[in-house]
Subunit: 271 residues, 2 copies
Amino acid sequence: MDSEKEFLSGYKLSDYERPSVTSDVAAFMIGSEDKTSYRKYPKNKLQLLLIKRGGHPFKGMWALPGGFMQKGETVEECALREIFEETNVMPSSLLPVGVFSEPERDPRGWIISNAYVSVISEEQVRQKGMDDADDAQWFSVSFDRADSGEYHLTLEYDEIILKAILEEETTRFRRTKFRIKDSGGLAFDHAAVIAAALTVLRAEAKYFDTIFDFLPEKFTLTSLQKVQETIMNASVVPANFRRMVAGYVEETGEYLRGEGHRPAMLYRRKK
Amino acid sequence: MDSEKEFLSGYKLSDYERPSVTSDVAAFMIGSEDKTSYRKYPKNKLQLLLIKRGGHPFKGMWALPGGFMQKGETVEECALREIFEETNVMPSSLLPVGVFSEPERDPRGWIISNAYVSVISEEQVRQKGMDDADDAQWFSVSFDRADSGEYHLTLEYDEIILKAILEEETTRFRRTKFRIKDSGGLAFDHAAVIAAALTVLRAEAKYFDTIFDFLPEKFTLTSLQKVQETIMNASVVPANFRRMVAGYVEETGEYLRGEGHRPAMLYRRKK
DNA sequence: CAAATAGTGTCTCTAAGACAATATCAC
DNA sequence: GTGATATTGTCTTAGAGACACTATTTG
């Protein structure tokens, strides 16, 4: 045991070249558009947080929030810290997307990125949310597979439209990976990271767990259903949705009134 | 653009402290025990490759194969390289398990591990397999949840028995993580890595994709079923298994004869 | 023939999808 | 009452699990 102590004290990791490690986060939110009629349910939009790069490389282009790991924290803590720094909100969940480590992915050098999905509720952003900085914006997301097999990722905010084109990559490594055919003006390999993140989010949305994080503590079943539909870009019959979600929620007894139609019971996530 | 070039040429990543990054691999194989009767199907055992550490720290203890990333490769390539160096076999698939980055996980310093599951067939090992080095051995695996909620991981090779005790950790980060209550003589946090790897492997085994890699190109449906049963530690009714796997395999027309009972058709993985 | 695995047919049960009907509010 | 969403009932269908039966080979 003495020899182990001795060994460790003389041990130098710095003999080997080491990569820099970052955590990058695709933070999603569901934003509601203005009501078109006083009694109509507002349309939901899936939104993604992007940061305008202030420095080189990719200066002025849009990128996922993220940054270098600091000593003493885990990659997950780093991801949470980065999101908090950017939004002032601490997300309640974090889904791993994958490690991006292609040697040429960052012109600054050898930089490995750990990508995560995080989910934030509109309520949180409204309350504690970021000051409306020009360099951090929520973009509406659309992502679909064209008949050609290509994937089209479109991110929109105001006048700004970023359109990326990707191809699914077959790997022996599981997890869908994407190859960028056109980055659409996104920095680094972030178009591929966002595509992978959306794939993860959509897969998760099926299993009632992640979707609660988009909503406040108390919610109606219809709003929950709309969240799922928005993410998966597919609609469900209400009767079936309620049956499937029944095991994951519990009644609060309270009702949401004054919406111009029958009041809806407010539910809460079970357990 | 000139200013970007200028920026990059003057850019120094070395200003920040950086972690070392490793890939560690849980390489699984299904080994068959000797037949107890000339016509009986041999019993299968799930096995895991462990390496006896030759140097400090954890000298003489057993660990997962793995090693430091080299410049110019991805984490997945690093994982494959490590497995190949150890077994002389190139696995055909690699499943991500997660990133292990707790600051205290390695006494040598700040070292982040990317963990993967890989699957190797007994055939490959027999043919090109490693020379029977004392410091690399296939251990039989058993892993189950006790009534207390604890998980018991037992690894056995010859006289050597490693028994680790773990607890499921609730994280906001998805993916089952485990906390080590007793490492059972495994190096580093590898007991927790192995537990997570087994969880991934079991989840995958349901979906007929990974399990083919345990077998040679041509196989009988019963042998495929036994592989799945061995991994999941649960049995299936043959009629149902055949129905479920039907879409993933195709007939070769060949038969396996001379086994003391009705010959079985050899199948091949479809597509 | 006995032992053992190979392979098929079919009943049941459950969960998911589709559709239809009823309930209740705000204006 | 009208327009809208809330909520429940039920028919159908696809798939998983269970069981029973038949088929074939080798010692």
